[in-house]
Symmetry: C2
Subunit: 191 residues, 2 copies
């Protein structure tokens, strides 16, 4: 997707260690027009998968997932990383390693909003090793739901996440792929 690719080329920063800084337009400051365009693109690519709900993880998955949900006219659920007091005692919970936090984080969804028979489209900001998305897959499958597609704004294709998710046999769509991040460079390509 050219609009996102050009923005990463212009404003993204390679901080080293595989960390891509995109917090001027995705995950601290957010460009709502860009996020809306990304949501529209995801909605077009996943128009025929029959999703009944979108699932993402707080925090930085919320903006792209919400905009995709708007265009598909579906509810969106974001997995919480800490259990709020409004959630029932019995929850779906899994652990996933966080690349940017350097530790395991909990992903928690209330059984009120993830149920048997739902067809789940997962949308997140990054697809890197795929560990967060795998965590969301486990939550959905534990709830008796089916995964029908996976979308990420940015795929770091050198981290192998796509291969790790292949076994699910669902469409995986990334809007921009980062092919390598050697030195200060960010090499962008098609997915």
């Amino acid at each position: 997707m050219n609009e996102l690719k050009e923005r990463i080329a212009r404003d993204g920063k390679n901080l080293g260690g595989g960390i891509l800084k995109v917090d001027s337009f995705i995950n601290h400051q957010v460009d709502p027009g860009l996020m809306d365009a990304c949501g529209r693109e995801f909605a077009a690519r996943f128009a025929k998968v029959g999703a009944t709900k979108i699932l993402t993880a707080e925090i930085s998955g919320i903006a792209p997932a919400l905009m995709t949900a708007r265009h598909l006219n579906l509810p969106v659920v974001y997995a919480r990383k800490t259990k709020p007091i409004t959630m029932p005692d019995q929850v779906f919970l899994t652990l996933a390693p966080s690349h940017t936090k350097g530790r395991m984080v909990e992903l928690i969804v209330s059984p009120e909003y993830l149920g048997h028979g739902e067809k789940i489209l997962i949308i997140d900001d990054f697809l890197a090793t795929g560990s967060t998305i795998h965590g969301l897959v486990r939550l959905a499958q534990t709830a008796g739901a089916t995964i029908v597609g996976i979308g990420a704004l940015i795929e770091k294709s050198f981290e192998g996440g796509r291969a790790a998710l292949k076994e699910l046999n669902v469409p995986i769509e990334s809007l921009v792929c980062i092919l390598s991040m050697d030195g200060d460079n960010i090499v962008l390509g098609d997915c």
Copy 2:
């Protein structure tokens, strides 16, 4: 705003202790059409305040703030509660008591995205005691920015937040007011 008022009357739950559960449509599962309508309403009410940026707090402020930003065509910044590794060492940081967490939380904004001369519209999900919004006000003022308006989806008017923010002398707009939450009841009214 009738659409939100009717939704709270139908799906909101009074959990006692002043806790209103709205996680089927605002802050765990999100209804994107409702959030978009709320964003449009905020955009209309704040059309003339001259905002240059919207400021909110993660996590549940993101959806209404993003939709408002979309309609006003402005960037939105969400204050982080933990400092990500992509953020510089020097940040704007304040502490605010969290009603639902029962402890103080940090609110952190990078100086890259909150600067001198900006005109800030604060949008959040709840206005209760006003402590989170006061935290956002402190961050903006420390950065040399000016607050030009404050909007909340839901105001718990019995908690006094509006009076505490009056000294700022800016428009405060809530889309729905909760007048009282005695017993199992939720008494909704105009603000």
